[in-house]
Symmetry: C2
Subunit: 448 residues, 2 copies
């Protein structure tokens, strides 16, 4: 924490909202109907018209971030005294609430690492580009926020090094346990770190072995909730539904619900106002597209301007868990979002982000009231987490995990299904099943 404070003090950030007209290199392209960079790289702000038979609104327009390139979110890990350590970067991003957040070793879009901006090559890039197959512990394509990004995905990758490695001054080695502990503080661990560590596999073990393991671990202070999470993560047996049942559940929803997304000119979007300083909804709801001028300084000062997305309010993402037949299960929501790669992804029990149009009537969002009023002893996790500060202007969402008792029935609403943590990890492995909000919450679960 004190190292992070030092890192924060060593940098300066000036960020200022500006009119779209004064953006350098960025501008509205009338032929394409979108805001893009002069190079055509990085990302663009597009307008889309969404048609769906999901939810209560059949058609709407909205701006969306279009970033078709697949970038790297990568960790270098190394063993010290038998414990795996992650090379973390204290990285400043213009939209961050806490200026500096703990980020992966490498966080780079293809435009970054092919150096469209003619800047420096990202640190440690060569380790990822030259990684041998046996060094790769994890390499997955995972989705980003489906309400804000159009089918965006990043490559979540972890590579292990054996040799010594030069450590630059804003980098630090942390264990997984330390990262998870730091996540309990608001806005210290960035979104990209959370998505990558959520994918770390645990393997599968028989129930008896887990019971024995927990028995041995008793003296070491593992609490009953951590034991329950561990058992749910490792056990292949005892789940309410089989993996095949869950695939059937998802197939049925994907077969019934349509999602059609067409491009529309940003200036032709219905119900949206393209103003001089923001693109916003007539009602002021959801989110705005803004333009910012940024100056980040350490020894040298870097200045640029760019469009960003600013939320209208804070959101909430929560998993409700419950022990069923001796095994902790998660109430997983199947959720359609307009930017999803494949119509529907698995989401937390409650996910109400600003920018999400699928709003039900006041109080009609399942589990929302329950989560907001859960007694303190049932709240396993509760912290504010930032969205990615390179695109989102000071956006934070409350992340919660609730361990429910008998007050929550085993009966779930139609588009919800109980899964063990082991099953969530299985779907996570096969990509594009779990959304980023679900993965961010899973990253918060600790077994020690």
């Amino acid at each position: 924490m004190s190292w992070l404070n030092e890192q924060n003090e060593a940098v300066s950030l000036r960020i200022e909202k500006i009119p779209f007209a004064t953006l350098a290199q960025w501008g509205y392209d009338a032929a394409e109907g979108r805001i893009r960079h002069a190079s055509g790289k990085f990302f663009s702000i597009d307008g889309i018209r969404v048609n769906t038979n999901w939810g209560t609104v059949a058609e709407w327009d909205q701006p969306i971030i279009n970033q078709p390139e697949i970038g790297y979110l990568g960790f270098i890990v190394k063993e010290f005294d038998g414990v795996l350590h992650f090379l973390m970067q204290a990285k400043i991003e213009p939209g961050n609430v806490n200026y500096v957040q703990l980020s992966p070793t490498l966080q780079a879009t293809r435009s970054n690492y092919t150096q469209v901006h003619k800047g420096k090559k990202p640190r440690y890039l060569e380790y990822f580009q030259q990684a041998k197959p046996e060094q790769i512990l994890l390499d997955q394509l995972q989705s980003e926020q489906g309400a804000r990004f159009l089918r965006k995905r990043n490559r979540n990758i972890i590579i292990k090094v054996e040799d010594d490695i030069d450590i630059y001054e804003n980098f630090v080695w942390l264990t997984l346990a330390q990262i998870k502990e730091l996540m309990r503080h608001s806005n210290l661990v960035n979104m990209d770190t959370r998505t990558v560590i959520s994918g770390i596999p645990f393997g599968q073990v028989q129930s008896q072995v887990i019971d024995f393991f927990n028995f041995l671990g008793n003296g070491k202070g593992r609490s009953s909730v951590e034991k329950a999470f561990l058992k749910s993560a490792l056990s292949q047996e005892g789940s309410v539904h089989s993996i095949e049942n869950i695939i059937t559940f998802l197939t049925q929803l994907k077969s019934v619900f349509d999602l059609e997304v067409r491009k529309v000119d940003l200036k032709q979007m219905r119900e949206w106002v393209y103003g001089e300083e923001s693109i916003h909804h007539e009602t002021g709801k959801y989110f705005k597209v803004i333009a910012v001028d940024v100056e980040i300084g350490n020894r040298e000062v870097v200045q640029w301007s760019q469009p960003m997305v600013e939320p209208a309010q804070e959101g909430l993402c929560a998993f409700v868990c419950k022990e069923i037949d001796g095994l902790l299960h998660f109430a997983v929501q199947a959720k359609l979002e307009c930017g999803n790669h494949d119509i529907i992804e698995f989401a937390p029990t409650v996910q109400c982000l600003t920018g999400n149009y699928r709003q039900t009537k006041e109080g009609a969002l399942p589990f929302l009231e329950y989560v907001l009023h859960a007694p303190k002893e049932q709240v396993y996790f509760d912290a504010l987490q930032s969205e990615e500060g390179g695109r989102f202007f000071r956006e934070q969402n409350r992340n919660m995990i609730i361990i429910a008792g008998d007050e929550i029935s085993e009966e779930l609403p139609e588009n919800y299904i109980w899964m063990t943590l082991n099953q969530l990890y299985t779907f996570l492995k096969f990509n594009n099943y779990l959304n980023i909000q679900a993965r961010s919450l899973i990253a918060a679960i600790s077994f020690v």
Copy 2:
């Protein structure tokens, strides 16, 4: 076979190529630049422009079938004397080579079953619509030909009934072994049957159990190749690569290769000629879009016209298998096709379909010469199989499975990877990993 002959004699099919101008209900829509049905339903023939850094051709135009609706490919199964039987339909489709082919119980697009054509409700539809969760043995979304269909998927579903069920005269109960035996004859089992039965799960067993099982089965005449397939299907251990390694392999390819598909007007496609009777490539290669007038008669005669796709030549799909460390592995190709839902899917070792632009130089297609000249005793499977006769005019592809010896090295070309049958089944379960050509070949593998 004789029942099939009877079914063939009981129907009549007249199919005639006609000019596009005489299509009833179908026509070129100048505003949308495509050929579509008056209702806007069923499917359309669109023009696309493809940009990719995969292969040797960076940009091309082509027509493609656009059918965004997810339809049913469904089997009703029932146990008779302890053996599961599949309710097969002897179904005639206009493009079929052998008029009648063995098809799933239900084969229906959403336009069919919501009765856009105001025809009769498809037989047995209600069994699928009213299926209880415990009746569903399989329910998966699987892709269709990526070179011909734009991101088309169907719902592959198998439901089990306990009660007696009325059997219409062109339906018959067959066991899985019988279906697989009939597949060894050319063009008897249709594409839709093959894709659904490819997904039937086998579960996972430890190696020792399989050896014991094979030992017991010795007297029952299971041949050594069938034992090798069974072991490869059931064994979770001993594979050259782990599932995680294979996901890494795929992630790397998906991260490096781009696929951009834009709509272009059918009449504006470069190198394609929009003629009065066909849309064809200047060179005559690949495939043509044609219009046909169809009359199918049984007791009553049904007449309609529609566009179809006619191939320029026969294609070849082949898996090369090889025993590595005592376990049969398949040489699986990672292949980019323009209509793929997610850039790259796993394909057979050799897949050269007409209509596929990714042609390498003569003799440069890996394994092609080897497969064509494989000695007879190494050919496990060799039959012509039809593509779906509702869209494709007499299209058949040669399907082969070769058991290779030492002449094939364990070293594979860059975009190939060894997988066991168990691993192929695992990816099959999670949808959109195995392409339809790979699934069609897997359906041909028999364990008895």
